[in-house]
């Protein structure tokens, strides 16, 4: 295990958090769990007293040789990433921050991943274990600091994207990856249809692609891997050099496409690989940005939710509304669940949070 530059701010306040949860359960008074509050817009607003995890911070275990790090949920994401970078490693899911205060807990709660996701995996794919405070205020541990663990149900991965509705995540163990030996980004001018065809073809080949986004007449690619393969692929594909800052701007939604001056809602369309362009009335090519090789499409549109969601569902996907990315949340950001699936969501919530104190309504009104 390496020295992880303990920060003066490191501290374990899990006892205090557990007591607060106990009180909430006893009083039946809901909690709004928050870290840096940078992703509050991603979900429904929660009516409850704010419980901040920000003071529960610090890396508790990091061994680069084991490829595993354990970190308290209030730790700033930037601090974790800096420590990993010092050791030539990174978070494979490339999570968006949406602000300097973003925390590890927020990454886990929202489960949002960056441009590398289709090739490396999502946040949940890198979660190995969690420490959770239950509705009764018990501190429990699931999974752990090992790569493989199939003992019991996989509650750790269940917490990812659950937005704090099932319990308070206080610590998470993550698999980390070595940073690639070489990286090169490039820009190829081509129409959307050509980009789609080429991405389908390249997807069947072992190419060192780790990001692919099409917008405004150009395909943007990132090549990463060993120096030899990156150089060879660069030669083969040609195109213009692209500043790697493009990927950060895409991930953090600071590209012009995401401009706040555009008053139309921002939608996230999640679609299967190789889905053709959806025929959506009034939507122009410029209203769309195709990330994740076309499996994550950002859309600026005032189309009604039902129309959009039906089109996505027909293609085997779903649509999420991020609205203006301001304020405490949207009315109904997430696509409604099928009735049977919704029933088991309610059952699970009733079992793990019977008093409904953990972020009630954050995902769906009835959860």
């Amino acid at each position: 295990m390496v020295e992880t530059r303990p920060q003066s701010t490191d501290q374990d306040i899990s006892e205090a958090l557990a007591e607060r949860v106990c009180r909430a359960t006893a009083e039946g008074s809901p909690l709004r769990i928050a870290g840096g509050d940078t992703k509050a817009f991603y979900g429904r607003p929660v009516d409850g007293e704010t419980l901040s995890t920000r003071e529960h911070r610090g890396i508790t275990y990091y061994d680069p040789v084991e490829l595993i790090v354990s970190v308290r949920s209030g730790t700033p994401l930037a601090e974790l990433e800096a420590t990993l970078a010092d050791n030539g490693q990174m978070l494979g899911c490339e999570p968006p921050h949406f602000g300097a205060d973003a925390t590890v807990g927020g990454m886990v709660a929202t489960g949002l991943s960056g441009p590398r996701r289709p090739w490396a995996g999502s946040v949940r794919d890198f979660v190995l274990g969690t420490r959770v405070i239950t509705h009764e205020g018990h501190q429990q541990r699931f999974g752990g600091e090992v790569m493989k663990n199939v003992a019991g149900y996989d509650l750790s991965r269940l917490m990812v994207g659950a937005q704090g509705t099932l319990g308070l995540v206080t610590e998470v163990s993550l698999k980390v990856l070595p940073r690639p030996g070489a990286s090169h980004s490039l820009r190829l001018e081509m129409p959307l249809a050509d980009a789609q065809a080429r991405l389908a073809e390249w997807g069947r080949q072992p190419l060192p692609i780790t990001a692919a986004a099409w917008h405004a007449g150009a395909l943007h690619l990132r090549l990463e891997g060993g120096p030899s393969s990156v150089a060879a692929t660069r030669e083969r594909l040609g195109g213009d050099d692209l500043d790697a800052a493009f990927w950060t701007a895409l991930r953090e939604q600071t590209l012009d496409f995401f401009s706040r001056d555009d008053t139309r809602a921002l939608w996230r369309l999640s679609l299967p690989h190789n889905t053709p362009s959806l025929a959506l009335a009034g939507v122009e090519e410029a209203d769309l940005l195709h990330d994740w090789a076309g499996t994550q499409r950002w859309l600026r549109s005032d189309l009604d939710a039902d129309t959009l969601r039906e089109a996505c569902a027909r293609a085997g996907g779903h649509a999420t509304c991020l609205g203006t990315r301001e304020g405490p949340g949207q009315a109904d950001p997430f696509m409604p669940l099928e009735p049977v699936v919704a029933k088991y969501h309610r059952n699970l919530k009733a079992q793990l949070d019977p008093k409904g104190i953990f972020n009630p309504g954050r995902l769906y009104a009835e959860l």
């Binding site: 289709p118 790569m147 190789n274 969501h345």
Partner: protein
């Protein structure tokens, strides 16, 4: 022998007349194949953990989803437990039947429904064999990554139930990382879809929860998996060491060099000799340990990585390093490893395979502990190790015909697993808890954590009809058999239900 369902500790099962259940099911699902005569039930009395056998009350072999739905609805109405089984290759007794339960065998759902090379997915019925997926994808230059050693026989439905692994997990992940969507039939006979052909789905990640849930939450009836492009090339290095610890350290050194091998396996002397006798893989039989390191990817990178790994291994004190000259030799190197279990089986009338995982840095301590236990019990242990991801498979050699030796082997195995937990690891990396490791669960989880697992179960199967007695021990069982700490003869958390 505590492995068989004990109603006092594992929960009561209903006393229902077999003839009544048979008549009910025959009437409700006229076309459903139901086996009920002892000689027909006999082939289903065990899974891959063959030391334990129980005749199920009935075996159902459905061919349609409607039959599965009807079966679930009737079993729920009658209160009859249902144990789901795939190919029956599991090593933890997860598909061990109940004499008061129906064994639901999914083997007739054996069709590959679709391979879509552009979307890089395959849609499968649960009885499709693991290897058959990669065979079907091969014409498109694609494959399915998880490759448990039993891949020629094990089925994808069982892989999902156990979250199966294989030798390529460190780089390519477990089943949970490679399954996109499952269709499920619940105990109430409802159909639901978890996951999506897109890269995510709305709501809670129930797909992750179901993967590895050992048939306790629902019956998986269809699986959509992700296919990957075949690496352009794969090369294997075999390094010998005169000391097991040196080999263990070399593993860390390879990772520290920034390389994630496609496969990184270790075998100790006893396993090397067994494999060499059986397969003639060209293993150095005098070595204390060997490492097999497979590097895959784009040709140019793989060549660079081979050079780096070679130099790391030399520095780590390898006494010999061999690179497979071609694909045939590479296959031979792997054949020794993939046949390690049957090879060890030839050395001893019986063997018992463990599946603990540990942080890799603890390897020397754990190997020393295993050697000490081996001496204490007078039973030989061969070590086969997914070194890259810390998953150990100690194989305990014993002779079941010698009175007491099975029990000795089980006790030794239990000690190994408890040692794995003690150093921060887990009792099972890929084989599952099933019935086999039910008592060791009490060492890994405290009563509150077990109660949370029971709460999850209750959300999907409140009457505990799906595979009861597996995976999650009751608190009563832990109090009696497990390592649960009991103060002053009082159970911890007396307020918790003891089902």
């Amino acid at each position: 022998m505590n492995i068989l369902h004990d109603e006092r500790l594992d929960g009561e099962l209903p006393d229902i007349d077999k003839a009544d259940v048979l008549a009910d099911l025959q009437q409700a699902a006229p076309g459903l194949t139901l086996l009920h005569r002892e000689e027909d039930l006999r082939p289903f009395e065990c899974d891959g953990l063959s030391a334990y056998r129980v005749l199920p009350m009935l075996v159902a072999l459905p061919e349609t989803l409607e039959q599965v739905e009807t079966l679930m609805k009737r079993c729920r109405a009658l209160g009859v437990p249902v144990v789901t089984r795939g190919a029956g290759t599991g090593l933890s007794g997860g598909a061990l039947p109940l004499e008061k339960g129906v064994l639901l065998v999914m083997s007739r759902f054996n069709r590959i429904l679709d391979v879509d090379p552009d979307a890089r997915i395959a849609r499968l019925q649960p009885g499709v064999r693991n290897l058959a997926i990669s065979e079907a994808a091969a014409p498109y230059g694609l494959y399915y990554a998880p490759d448990p050693s039993s891949q020629i026989a094990c089925s994808i439905g069982g892989n999902v139930a156990e979250n199966a692994g294989g030798v390529h997990c460190l780089k390519y992940g477990l089943t949970v990382h490679n399954v996109m969507k499952v269709e499920v039939i619940t105990i109430e006979g409802e159909r639901m879809t978890l996951g999506s052909e897109a890269l995510d789905a709305p709501g809670l990640d129930l797909l992750a929860l179901f993967t590895g849930s050992e048939g306790m939450l629902g019956v998986v009836t269809e699986i959509t998996v992700k296919l990957l492009p075949k690496p352009e090339t794969a090369k294997v290095l075999m390094a010998s060491f005169d000391d097991v610890e040196k080999a263990g350290r070399a593993v860390g050194d390879i990772i520290a060099a920034g390389i994630i091998p496609g496969g990184l396996e270790m075998m100790d002397k006893l396993a090397i000799r067994a494999a060499e006798d059986f397969v003639k893989a060209g293993y150095p039989v005098e070595a204390e340990a060997i490492l097999l390191c497979e590097l895959d990817g784009v040709e140019a990178d793989v060549d660079d990585d081979c050079a780096t790994v070679r130099s790391v291994l030399e520095k780590a004190g390898a006494t010999g390093i061999q690179q497979a000259r071609d694909d045939a030799e590479r296959a031979t190197f792997w054949a020794g490893r993939k046949n390690a279990f049957p090879a060890v089986g030839r050395m001893s009338p019986d063997y018992y395979c463990m599946d603990g995982t540990i942080p890799r840095r603890e390897l020397p301590r754990v190997l020393k502990g295993i050697a000490d236990f081996s001496e204490e019990y007078g039973l030989r242990v061969a070590n086969v190790f997914h070194a890259g991801d810390g998953n150990m498979h100690p194989l305990i050699l014993f002779d079941a015909n010698r009175p007491g030796e099975l029990e000795q082997a089980e006790e030794l195995g239990g000690k190994i697993l408890e040692l794995c937990v003690e150093v921060g690891g887990s009792i099972t990396g890929e084989h599952g808890v099933g019935r086999e490791k039910i008592n060791q669960m009490c060492a890994q989880f405290n009563p509150g954590e077990l109660a949370t697992f029971h709460a999850v179960k209750a959300a999907f199967d409140p009457d505990r009809l799906l595979n009861p007695g597996k995976n999650i021990p009751t608190l009563a069982r832990c109090a009696e058999f497990g390592a649960m700490h009991v103060h002053n003869n009082e159970l911890p958390h007396p307020e918790l239900p003891r089902f």
